[in-house]
């Protein structure tokens, strides 16, 4: 029997970790992840969670400890944000390469500089090729559900790869919603105790993990990882079906809203889906054939499904919450365009909501109106469109402070 609780995204993540019986926690606090680290330590202190809490001195150590702990045969957990994830960069590859199925919560926050505490996706997008599964949640309920699914998925014997559950900083992490939290028995029934089925640390059966690998074997081990991630697409639908049967909530690889027969589809990721759906619903009532697609599983990218959905759509806009500097389009755009490659489709790369800027329904309507211009031939849509950019971007904070004359023309 589930409980109805008022939770924010961080607390939903903590409840999932608790119910999935994590045995070792090594987390280093960072805004907006700090409540996760704090609540877990509180649970360990008051005995609600039977786990070891390791106080580490950095995120690099946090993930290193989690990997070492998980190798001894427990679920280990950690969570981080932004520059914390960047500091973990080296260790992310150790977890995925050694096939240690750690599940990590990521509270998305912009990367420096400019220094920011607020949401965008550049932190996780920068780690998209690290061999980790990436799932982007849209609501507090989905934060909880995705975490539970992520444990099953990551630990599946054919996958054996770590997973990140990415939630939008503040928009999800600090916003309270009612969430249905299942009982411990129901979760235990869905998620069996952790059984390491690959590398493990044991005194009786010593094992050498992550030794120097010559060129004669390196490529093969990378290919093993590729196969593991490829298996996600076979394994995930079955896990989703079981989840639906047990808990009555549908989980998505990609989620569609009015995409069938649409002239214009906006591809979104994360919590922005709600506002995009709201705007699309309004435009649909005005007779405009618009749709919204949400990418939930970003790694491995479900290119077959995305390609199939977008095959006959004339205009596809992809709204990234990260800039993708220097590339033809931002990260999500390049994935979607490659997946749905159709010469008659016009693809528009859009960037918005950086550094915590709200992607409101008004912004979404602007995005759709630009897509309509492209559809009607009024705009070519070839250049990247920054949908919420202010016109005074070039003169922002421009003031003669003495010594900066050369910069002010």
């Amino acid at each position: 029997m589930h409980e109805r609780l008022l939770l924010d995204g961080n607390m939903a993540m903590v409840e999932a970790m608790r119910l999935c019986r994590v045995g070792v926690i090594s987390a280093y606090p960072i805004t907006p992840q700090s409540p996760v680290a704090e609540k877990l330590s509180e649970y360990v202190e008051n005995g609600k969670l039977n786990a070891e809490y390791i106080r580490v001195e950095s995120e690099h150590s946090a993930l290193s400890c989690a990997i070492g702990a998980q190798l001894t045969g427990v679920r280990a957990c950690t969570a981080t944000s932004s520059v914390g994830l960047a500091l973990m960069h080296e260790v992310l590859g150790v977890a995925s390469g050694c096939r240690v199925p750690v599940v990590m919560g990521i509270i998305n926050r912009a990367l420096v500089a400019p220094w920011s505490l607020w949401c965008d996706h550049q932190d996780t997008m920068a780690e998209r090729d690290s061999g980790w599964i990436q799932i982007y949640a849209k609501s507090v309920q989905e934060v909880f559900d995705s975490m539970v699914v992520a444990y099953r998925l990551a630990e599946h014997k054919d996958v054996q790869s770590p997973a990140m559950v990415c939630i939008d900083g503040f928009f999800l992490s600090h916003t309270s919603e009612v969430a249905l939290i299942p009982s411990q028995e129901e979760i235990d029934d869905f998620l069996p105790p952790y059984q390491p089925c690959n590398a493990h640390l044991s005194v009786d059966n010593p094992m050498f993990v992550n030794n120097l690998i010559p060129s004669s074997e390196f490529c093969e081990m990378r290919y093993q990882q590729k196969e593991g991630l490829d298996h996600v697409k076979e394994v995930l639908p079955a896990i989703h079906a079981e989840f639906l049967e047990k808990f009555g909530r549908e989980q998505f690889t990609v989620e569609q809203y009015c995409c069938e027969g649409a002239d214009m589809v906006l591809v979104t990721i994360g919590s922005m889906f709600g506002a995009a759906m709201q705007a699309a619903g309004k435009l649909r009532k005005q007779g405009k054939k618009v749709g919204v697609l949400r990418i939930v599983l970003f790694r491995p990218f479900p290119y077959e499904i995305v390609g199939e959905i977008l095959r006959d759509v004339p205009v596809v806009g992809v709204l990234d919450r990260s800039a993708g500097l220097g590339a033809q389009g931002a990260p999500l755009f390049t994935e979607v365009k490659t997946a749905a490659a159709n010469p008659s489709t016009k693809f528009v790369s859009m960037v918005g909501g950086l550094g915590g800027r709200d992607l409101s329904t008004a912004t979404m309507e602007n995005a759709f109106s630009y897509l309509e211009d492209v559809y009607n031939g009024k705009a070519d849509g070839k250049a990247q469109k920054w949908i919420d950019l202010k016109d005074n971007y070039g003169t922002l904070r421009l003031k003669n402070i003495g010594g900066n004359e050369l910069c002010i023309k």
Binding site: G97, R99, P206, F208, V209
Partner: protein
Amino acid sequence: MSKGQENASKQSEKDKNSTFLGPVATIVNDVDTGAWRVDVPVVDHASCIRCAICKKHCPLSIIKVDKENPVWIDMRFCKGCGICAQVCPKGCILMDSNIKEVENNA
């Protein structure tokens, strides 16, 4: 990449039936670091006082010293670093670069 390095780790007999993914090995006994050696330590057993200072300093812990037997170095693993020759108070270990073949009476 030398054959010795490639063989550095492999699965043990008892784990033959299970397969492991990624850089994992269950047996590590064939790290043939002796293949890297250029200079060979030669001990003058007559001047050696068996003080075992060389044994303490050997980074691979492959020198055996006791009162009855002459100093013995496991040449399978000796990289020829020469630390033993540097620390010997009697100066009775010399690094010889002309020796090509070493008999290992392990």
